[in-house]
C-alpha cells in the first residue's frame, strides 16, 4: 500500500478516515498502553474524545499528523460513507435541502443536534463510565445523555425528543446503545438527512486501542429508508482536553441573514 499517497489524499480530503478495529489492534507497536478496564472488566470508555472533521477543531497540521500516524501504523482505509438509502420521496426532500445550500439546517439555528450528528460535531465530548450507566457529555449545546446499562428497558412514557432515549448493554467488549423516541426536528449526518419519529439508532462503541474508539452507527427508519444506513467514525482520546462552555445562540447573526437571503432568491440561488 502506498501509505504516503493515502496520507496525502487523506489530508486533502480534510477528514480522518475510520479504520477497521482488527487492523488497528494488529498494527499496535509494542509498548503501547493497553485498553483500560473498569472494575467489572469491561473496557473503560471514560475520557474526553474528538471525532468528525478534526481539522476544524484542532487545526490542519495536527489533524494531518493524526492521519500520518494512522498511515504509519498501517491502518486500513474503510469504504467511504454510503449516501443515505432514502426512499424516492425522502431523497427528493434531501436534494431540495442541498439545492437550498443547507440554509434550513436546524444546527444553524442553534437547535440541539440529534444522534449521531451531535457526536461528530467538531467539538469535544466526554464519556463518564460508571457502574450501571454511562454518561455522555457534549460540549455542543451543553447536551448530555444518560445511558443505563443495568438492563432496564426504555421507559414507557417517552416524549419525542432531539436526542431520544438511550439504553445500553455490553456485547463482549462493545457497548451497544439503543436509541429511540426521537422527534423529527434533527438531521442525522449532513445537509438534508431527514428522518421520521420512527427512527431507531444503534450505536456501537468499541475501545480498540488506548487512544481510539471505533464508533459504528446503524440508523433504521422505515418511513424514509429502504434499508438501514450505516456509518463509522473513530474517536480520538484527548488526555489534556477539557470541555468548555459553548452557548450557540449567544450571537447567532445567521438567523437574520437567512431571513434576508430567503427574501432574495436572486442572491441566494445564483
Amino acid at each position: 500500500m502506498n501509505l504516503r499517497l493515502v496520507t496525502v489524499l487523506g489530508a486533502l480530503m480534510g477528514c480522518v478516515l475510520p479504520a477497521p478495529a482488527a487492523a488497528q489492534s494488529a498494527a499496535a507497536p509494542g509498548g503501547v498502553k493497553p485498553v483500560p478496564r473498569a472494575a467489572d472488566g469491561k473496557p473503560d470508555l471514560s475520557g474526553v474524545w474528538i471525532t468528525g472533521a478534526l481539522q476544524l477543531l484542532i487545526g490542519e497540521a495536527e489533524a494531518r499528523a493524526i492521519l500520518q500516524a494512522d498511515a504509519a501504523a498501517g491502518r486500513h482505509v474503510p469504504p467511504p460513507r454510503e449516501p443515505p438509502p432514502y426512499k424516492p420521496e425522502a431523497e427528493a426532500k434531501r436534494q431540495e435541502y442541498i439545492a437550498r445550500r443547507g440554509i434550513d439546517d436546524p444546527m444553524a439555528r442553534c437547535l440541539i443536534s440529534g444522534v449521531p450528528r451531535i457526536t461528530t460535531r467538531p467539538l469535544p465530548f466526554q464519556i463518564v463510565q460508571m457502574q450501571g450507566q454511562v454518561i455522555l457529555l457534549y460540549e455542543a449545546h451543553h447536551a448530555f445523555r444518560i445511558v443505563p446499562t443495568d438492563g432496564r428497558p426504555h421507559p414507557d412514557d417517552i416524549e419525542p425528543s432531539y436526542l431520544g432515549d438511550s439504553v445500553g448493554h455490553w456485547e463482549g467488549d462493545t457497548l451497544v446503545v439503543d436509541v429511540t423516541g426521537f422527534n423529527e426536528k434533527t438531521w442525522l449526518a449532513g445537509v438534508g438527512t431527514i428522518h421520521s419519529d420512527k427512527l431507531r439508532v444503534t450505536e456501537r462503541y468499541t475501545r480498540d486501542t488506548y487512544d481510539t474508539v471505533v464508533y459504528d452507527v446503524t440508523m433504521e427508519d422505515p418511513e424514509v429508508f429502504t434499508k438501514p444506513w450505516h456509518t463509522q467514525e473513530i474517536f480520538r482520546l484527548r488526555p489534556n482536553e477539557r470541555l468548555r462552555e459553548y452557548e450557540c445562540i449567544e450571537n447567532n447573526e445567521d438567523l437574520l441573514r437567512f431571513e434576508k437571503l430567503l427574501e432574495r432568491e436572486d442572491l441566494f440561488r445564483k
Binding site: 478516515l17 445550500r101 442572491l267 445564483k270
Partner: protein
C-alpha cells in the same frame, strides 16, 4: 490493494465527505467562488458564539475607508488551534485577511486566514465548502 484502488476509494470518500461546516452550511451565506483579500486595521472584535466577528478598516486608493466585517470559527475552536483572546488579534493590528464574500452583504466575508504585519499567519475560519454534501 493497488494504488489505483486506493485513489478510487479516497476520491469517492472525498466526494461523499459530509459537510464540514462548524455551525452552518458555508454555501448558505458565502460564495466559495468569490474570494477576497482585504488589508487594513482591526477596528472591533466580537469574541462570541457561534462565530467570532472582527472588523477591519480598509483604506481604498482614494483614501476613503471601508469597514469590512469578517466571520470566523467560534472561540472554543480558535483556542484549540492556539489562539489567545486579547493577544492573538488585537485592536489596531495591521492585517491582511483572506476570505470569501457574503452572498448578501458587499462588505462581509467568511475569513479563512489572517496575515499579520510580521508575516505570520493564523487560520481563523473553515475552508469554503459546498454545503451540499
Amino acid at each position: 490493494m493497488k494504488t489505483t484502488d486506493i485513489v478510487a476509494i479516497l476520491a469517492a470518500a472525498l466526494l461523499s465527505a459530509p459537510s464540514i461546516s462548524a455551525h452552518h452550511s458555508f454555501a448558505a451565506e458565502y460564495d466559495g467562488e468569490r474570494p477576497v483579500t482585504i488589508s487594513g486595521t482591526v477596528a472591533k472584535i466580537e469574541w462570541s458564539n457561534p462565530h467570532i466577528h472582527f472588523y477591519v478598516d480598509a483604506k481604498g486608493d482614494s483614501g476613503a475607508v471601508t469597514q469590512w466585517k469578517f466571520e470566523g470559527y467560534p472561540p472554543n475552536m480558535l483556542i484549540r488551534q492556539g489562539w489567545k483572546r486579547d493577544e492573538t488579534l488585537k485592536l489596531g493590528d495591521a492585517v491582511t485577511v483572506f476570505a470569501w464574500r457574503s452572498r448578501l452583504d458587499p462588505n462581509l466575508g467568511a475569513a479563512r486566514e489572517i496575515t499579520f504585519a510580521d508575516g505570520h499567519k493564523m487560520t481563523v475560519g473553515p475552508p469554503a465548502g459546498t454545503g451540499g454534501q
